[in-house]
């Protein structure tokens, strides 16, 4: 899944997979911080897979 998304042009920085148990609160905070940092670090801010306005009626 990750590979195909990257293949289509989604930046690796936007794709994160984690396994976090409900007891691992610190891991959750850690991962969330890393994810947001990675996404913010991207130069290309263009939104992908987001529909703004339909281009056709």
């Amino acid at each position: 899944m990750k590979n195909l998304l990257e293949h289509m042009g989604i930046e690796p920085e936007r794709l994160h997979f984690s396994w976090i148990s409900s007891a691992e609160s610190t891991k959750f905070v850690d991962v969330a911080t890393k994810v947001t940092e990675a996404v913010k670090s991207l130069e290309n801010k263009e939104k992908k897979f987001v529909k703004t306005k339909p281009k056709v009626a």
Binding site: K2, L4, E6, H7, M8, S18, K51, V56
Partner: protein, 319 residues
Amino acid sequence: MKSYTEKIKEISKGLLEEGKVDMVIGYRKGSVPLMHQPFFAQNQQEIDEFVWDSNCGLNLANYVTDRQEKIGILATGCNSRNIATHIVEGKIKREQLYIIGIPCKGMLDRHKLAAMADGPITTVEEDEEKGTVTISGDGFSETVDKTEALQQNCSICVHRNPVIYDELVADEVKEQTRDEVDPYAGVKEIEAMSPEEKWAHFDDLLSACIRCYACRNACPLCYCPLCFVDESKPQWVGKSIDPTDVRTFHFLRAYHCAGRCTDCGACVRACPVGINVRDFTKKLEKDCFELYGWEAGMSTEQRPPLDTYKPDDPEEFIK
């Protein structure tokens, strides 16, 4: 491919006569050039309509889903692998089928030939001895080497001979090896691009898509009674030709084929606007080969990698 056609007719007639099958699924001449139709022959006269040449690129495994009859079916390398996948997935029983195996030398790329022609193609002739194909129409006629006119998936195919069959129509053909042809050359080209270039490549690829779903309908793997794109409660994906909707459709459809796609090329052949849908599925096929050593449909025993779990499955991507 006269010899193949005659042999196919002979075997099929025998099967019907002996009552071994209720019908034989093959091809008859299509209503447009380069596209022979899948055809269910149920009696001797209908068998006489059978043809075999390099225009039989639709995948016949698509037509046996959930059928109850006893069926004779033609199968090339890729078709036989899709039949095997159907058997593994419980869509047909091996005992119901009499598989007429066809060693295959590849199908013609109708989109490529149409692009070479100076107008609508009306006739296609193949010279087996010279290995050429001549397309002609109003005021033009062009002859090319068959190797140049092959569908891309056929030119890189490494399983031309059927993997399961009851009888072959001819001796096996020589297989191409992975050293001679690189099945993943096309995927590697895309892999080498930057994320922006990749995004643009797929934008461009899909720009002509009209969401007709011919690709899905031609695919033997897409047998769900109600496809996710047609569902409305809940609606998983927008139904318009907005680029985001189109991309979502293709991405998800491809993913449903992961580990099951045999790269038969029926989807591309069926597409009215000539989109190479395989740019999605071939990447998954490559990943399955590299991550799991898996090629779809090579046996009727093993289940595809994405519906099994092994303790040593790769999981580097999970942090």
